[in-house]
């Protein structure tokens, strides 16, 4: 019995270390995606790297306020297919779905009132791992810039 508990503990520790290792490997992945960072924009603190597989979607939450332009970029060079993402509000209403915009990997927008938004990224479940890379590191890059004033 004691041996079993030791074995189980060891196994769990290994599992945790492995998952921490994976997430930390991907955590700073966004730093490799600097070409996405254009003039005038600054990274939002919620910009992050994730390990994405076809088994489960991942979510990044951030707050959007008026007077700011936001730019969401999905950077996933190691995954061979364009990623699907949606942006939802707190009531789980879909405000943007990139499948209705040719699976664009970049979306720039503004809001006219405060919103807590979730970016939910997933890989098409029909993705065939034997043909193409269906998992790997990816980054959800959230950038923001002051919305320029227009008119006189």
């Amino acid at each position: 019995m004691k041996q079993f508990i030791v074995f189980l503990s060891g196994f769990l520790i290994l599992l945790i270390i492995q998952s921490i290792g994976f997430s930390q490997d991907c955590f700073e992945y966004y730093k490799q995606c600097e070409e996405y960072n254009k003039k005038h924009y600054k990274y939002d603190d919620n910009t992050t790297g994730l390990f994405l597989s076809s088994y489960k979607p991942d979510t990044v939450i951030f707050e959007a306020v008026t007077g700011i332009n936001y730019k969401i970029s999905i950077c996933a060079d190691s995954i061979s297919i364009p990623l699907h993402f949606i942006i939802e509000n707190e009531e789980n209403e879909i405000l943007f779905d990139n499948s209705s915009d040719n699976l664009t990997q970049v979306f720039e927008f503004s809001v006219n009132n405060y919103k807590k938004l979730s970016v939910i990224v997933d890989i098409d479940k029909t993705c065939n791992e034997q043909i193409t890379n269906c998992s790997g590191c990816m980054a959800v890059i959230i950038e923001k810039a002051i919305k320029p004033r227009t008119g006189f």
């Binding site: 320029p148 004033r149 227009t150 006189f152």
Partner: protein
């Protein structure tokens, strides 16, 4: 004390810098892209001339005080991304009377006139087309796709004393 003051000014400078760079995006567009008159008597009306960022479909106003005994020339320049010719109107501020509309003049982008009575004019500038950003008030819940068709419009105003005619 001195150090903290220096730190405060340094931080303030870097905070203000991005705001300034945005506002100066079109700052002197009317000069750098200006369509100046070949008449050497015209002078730039620096206080009244101005430039601003516009999106397609946007309308904005500016004011111009004109004086009796002076000639004025208004010329409009704009970035190609904004498309067709800019519409501009001159409106008398006192009674809202329309004094000039370039839509009745083949959308000419320059107009010269003589003033016989001093008054305050409203120059109304309208960029043709439409923009998603301008429709935002009707959509409370959504996200508004960023306007990519955004560009500068410059309004150059030149003036001179009306030349005396005859002997």
């Amino acid at each position: 004390m001195l150090k903290s003051r220096t730190l405060f000014f340094t931080i303030s400078f870097f905070l203000i810098l991005p705001v300034l760079s945005f506002s100066q995006r079109c700052g002197s567009y009317h000069i750098t892209h200006g369509n100046f008159s070949e008449n050497k008597f015209y002078q730039i009306h620096k206080e009244a001339s101005r430039s601003a960022l516009f999106v397609k479909g946007e309308t904005s106003h500016m004011y111009l005080e004109v004086f009796n005994g002076r000639d004025y020339r208004i010329s409009i320049t704009h970035d190609d991304i904004l498309g067709g010719p800019i519409r501009f109107k001159l409106i008398d501020q006192e009674d809202d009377a329309l004094l000039y509309d370039n839509a009745n003049d083949n959308y000419t982008q320059e107009f010269e006139f003589t003033v016989t009575k001093s008054r305050m004019l409203i120059i109304e500038i309208s960029v043709p087309g439409s923009s998603v950003g301008l429709e935002k008030t009707s959509q409370e819940k959504g996200l508004f796709k960023k306007d990519t068709e955004i560009g500068c419009v410059g309004v150059l105003i030149e003036h001179m004393i009306t030349p005396r005619k005859g002997f």
